[in-house]
């Protein structure tokens, strides 16, 4: 029994010890095993920590603003210093306020993009810093999987936007300019073309982009002007002067151009900025003014001279007439008749010159120009003209003009005779009358105009035409191209003087080989007046 009791005690002791030892061994093994796993885990954690530290450094030190926010309520979960500084905030709470101040449409749009596509790229937002100052930001964000948040990169583009606004303002200003402002590269290709240029030349920006300027605006005969200007630009960096340009519709205009080279940023590449003003009208008016002044001077000079000559010739003619009655010899009478005839011819000539210079204040009546032209053409028709056809485009009832019928007949007779003489081999003479109202720019064509209503008589021939360089001189007294046929050079001057004294003006169009048209504008009058 005792042995059994001791045996039980031993069993108990050994059992207890075994259990205890098992527990301790289990604990130690567990601790050891976990420690090993823990070391591996810790190494992993260290790696993660280092990586986190590295990316945290990138995040914190990035010059671009970065933040993490919950998509649904825009709660900021994390932000770096750059984004806080960008929006003028020192704490995340202040940044939260700024973020909630973003315009609602922008937030809605970003929310929609993030929930739909998981990404929003370079969304431009105009918002304000904490201080209230306006700021433009470029907002890009991407959702983070599963946790309902998004990581965003925010870039301050205020300066860029301001520069763009400035550029747009300047562009708008350039477009408002009346002048044509264009930029070409050194090869002459158009890079910029403002609205002024569109209006001046008729070419749109899209049409000219990339095309060569010389092909666009310069006639082939004129292209050396472009090359010369480009050569000057290469040498002296600038060029100023006048060029004749061709519009899209083919009309030629004269432009006053200022060319200057412009450096393109830090590149050595250069462009040429051209500012051109249309001076065609100015040139025309200038030329008109100069011509008028010239005619005035000539009229004054010839008028004075003619008056003196008349004073000289009148006593000669009168004396010759008286002496003729006293002379009996046949030969003496013949001489005296010749003297008288020459003196009277001289007086007529002088009176023509006076007519040009001062005009003649004759008896003014209301005249239907059409009827008068019929009479003139009937008289002219009886001349010895070969193969001439006369075409009349006249209406009996036109606006009347106030004038001296004889003088006006002389004007049209001179013009018709000139026209017929310019067609020695025959041709078509067209006389046309119409009522015209000069408005806007056309009114500028009428010097010292007192009315806008004119009767226009156009006398056209199909003759040889007048050389361009002679057009300015044809109304000058004694200017003639018919020296051989004995022209005095006073026909057109007299016509000019008469028309001018009637308040009208004459315009000439001529093309060599095609003929010439004289447009006579006479101021119309109301039939009730006078």
């Amino acid at each position: 029994m005792q042995v059994t009791g001791i045996g039980i005690a031993w069993i108990l002791a050994i059992g207890s010890f075994a259990l205890l030892a098992s527990v301790i061994a289990y604990s130690v093994m567990m601790l050891h095993s976990h420690q090993r796993i823990g070391q591996l885990q810790r190494a992993k954690l260290d790696e993660v920590s280092r990586s986190e530290e590295k990316y945290r450094g990138l995040f914190d030190n990035s010059l671009a603003g970065m933040l993490k926010f919950r998509i649904d309520d825009w709660t900021i979960l994390d932000s770096n210093a750059a984004v806080r500084a960008m929006l003028g905030c020192t704490t995340q709470e202040e940044l939260q306020e700024c973020l909630l101040r973003l315009p609602e449409p922008a937030r809605d749009s970003i929310f929609a993009s993030l929930t739909r596509d998981g990404i929003v790229e370079q969304y431009e937002i105009r918002t304000s810093r904490r201080s209230g100052e306006t700021i433009y930001i470029l907002f890009s964000a991407r959702t983070v999987a599963c946790d309902g948040s998004a990581q965003a990169v925010v870039i301050d583009v205020t300066e860029r936007m301001r520069q763009m606004e400035k550029i747009q303002e300047q562009r708008a200003l350039l477009d408002h300019a009346q002048d044509a402002i264009l930029v070409i590269d050194t090869q002459g290709q158009v890079m910029y073309w403002n609205s002024g240029a569109e209006m001046m030349y008729g070419w749109t920006k899209e049409e000219v982009n990339g095309r060569r300027l010389d092909e666009l605006l310069y006639a082939s005969a004129n292209s050396n002007c472009f090359e010369e200007a480009m050569e000057d630009i290469r040498q002296f960096k600038e060029w100023n002067g006048e060029h004749r340009h061709i519009r899209k519709d083919g009309r030629e205009i004269i432009v006053d151009s200022r060319w200057k080279t412009v450096e393109r940023g830090s590149n050595t590449e250069q462009t040429v900025m051209i500012v051109s003003s249309d001076v065609s009208e100015k040139k025309r008016l200038e030329s008109q003014f100069i011509r008028a002044q010239k005619m005035e001077s000539i009229a004054l000079l010839t008028g004075g001279l003619a008056h003196d000559l008349q004073n000289v010739l009148a006593p000669i003619a009168m004396s010759a007439h008286l002496l003729k009655k006293r002379l009996s010899g046949k030969s003496s009478l013949a001489i005296m008749r010749a003297v008288e005839k020459s003196a009277r011819s001289g007086i007529e000539l002088v009176q023509s010159i006076l007519t040009y210079g001062r005009g003649i204040i004759g008896e003014r009546k209301h005249i239907q120009v059409g009827r008068m032209l019929v009479q003139v053409l009937d008289a002219v028709r009886h001349g010895q003209w070969q193969n001439v056809r006369i075409e009349r485009k006249l209406k009996a009832k036109r606006w009347p003009v106030s004038g001296d019928s004889n003088q006006l007949k002389q004007v049209f007779r001179n013009l018709c005779v000139n026209a017929l003489e310019s067609m020695p081999q025959g041709g078509l003479l067209t006389v046309e009358s119409s009522d015209v109202v000069l408005e806007g720019d056309r009114l500028d064509e009428a010097p010292n105009a007192e009315t806008s209503h004119y009767v226009l008589v156009s006398v056209s021939d199909a003759g040889v035409g007048i050389p361009h360089e002679d057009l300015d001189k044809i109304f000058e007294p004694f200017f003639t191209t018919k020296e051989r046929t004995g022209g005095t050079g006073l026909g057109l001057s007299v016509a000019y003087g008469i028309v001018k004294s009637h308040g009208g003006f004459i315009k000439v169009e001529s093309a060599m080989g095609s003929g010439t048209t004289f447009h006579v504008y006479l101021p119309a009058v109301s039939e009730k007046s006078d």
Partner: protein, 211 residues
């Protein structure tokens, strides 16, 4: 028979986890707070038992009632230390089963005039199983070293004490039949293991980790 000096030493050892537990009570996790409460109750239990022993009165009934308190509170400690809901349910189930067995024992079998060896053994087995469950759960958490986790030290303490005393307490009748020396030796082992368990509890309470 005079009370052995080791009884006082073992009784004093309860103060160590109690003081540590109370001191760190505000910063502690729910499990450690429950453990601190258990330590306070253990102090009261030991104190009451000593008091009765010194007055030569029977104190077994205190152990009988304390046993269910200790097992239930340790069950709660382990419950709050594990994360898995399955393990939590298992722990709760074990606690309930033990409580039922204890209730049956107290109501119908236990006369409180001698030590209830069966219940002592069942309670040790229950605590041992619960501590293994908690330790296994702690093993799976690889992010924190085991030695830095409270539940490891508490679980080890409970397991060492329970395993070491499982047979001694359960079969103490046989030891008593062998003579008082064997019985007293067994109780010394019990007290020594209790001191070890208390030290492990203290270590668990002082862990910085709240897990």
């Amino acid at each position: 028979m005079p009370i052995p000096i080791f009884v006082y030493i073992h009784a004093a050892s309860y103060l160590v986890p109690t003081i540590a537990g109370l001191k760190r009570f505000p910063k502690s996790s729910r499990a450690i707070r429950i453990l601190a409460v258990l330590c306070v109750l253990a102090c009261i239990n030991v104190g009451a038992q000593l008091f009765l022993a010194m007055r030569k009165e029977k104190n077994y009934f205190i152990s009988d009632y304390y046993r269910v308190v200790e097992t239930s509170l340790l069950c709660a400690v382990f419950y709050f230390s594990v994360v898995s809901q399955k393990l939590r349910n298992l722990l709760v189930g074990m606690g309930i089963v033990f409580a039922l067995i204890w209730a049956v024992d107290v109501l119908w079998f236990n006369t409180h005039d001698q030590m209830s060896n069966g219940m002592a053994m069942i309670s040790r087995i229950t605590v041992l199983l619960m501590s293994f469950i908690a330790l296994q759960a702690a093993m799976k958490d690889e992010f924190l070293p085991l030695a830095e986790r409270s539940i490891f030290w508490v679980g080890i303490g409970a397991a060492i004490y329970s395993s070491g005393t499982l047979l001694l307490l359960g079969l103490s009748h046989y030891l008593l039949q062998l003579g008082p020396d064997y019985f007293i030796a067994a109780w010394h082992i019990n007290w020594a293991l209790l001191i070890v368990a208390n030290l492990f509890y203290t270590k668990g309470m002082l862990c910085k980790s709240r897990g």
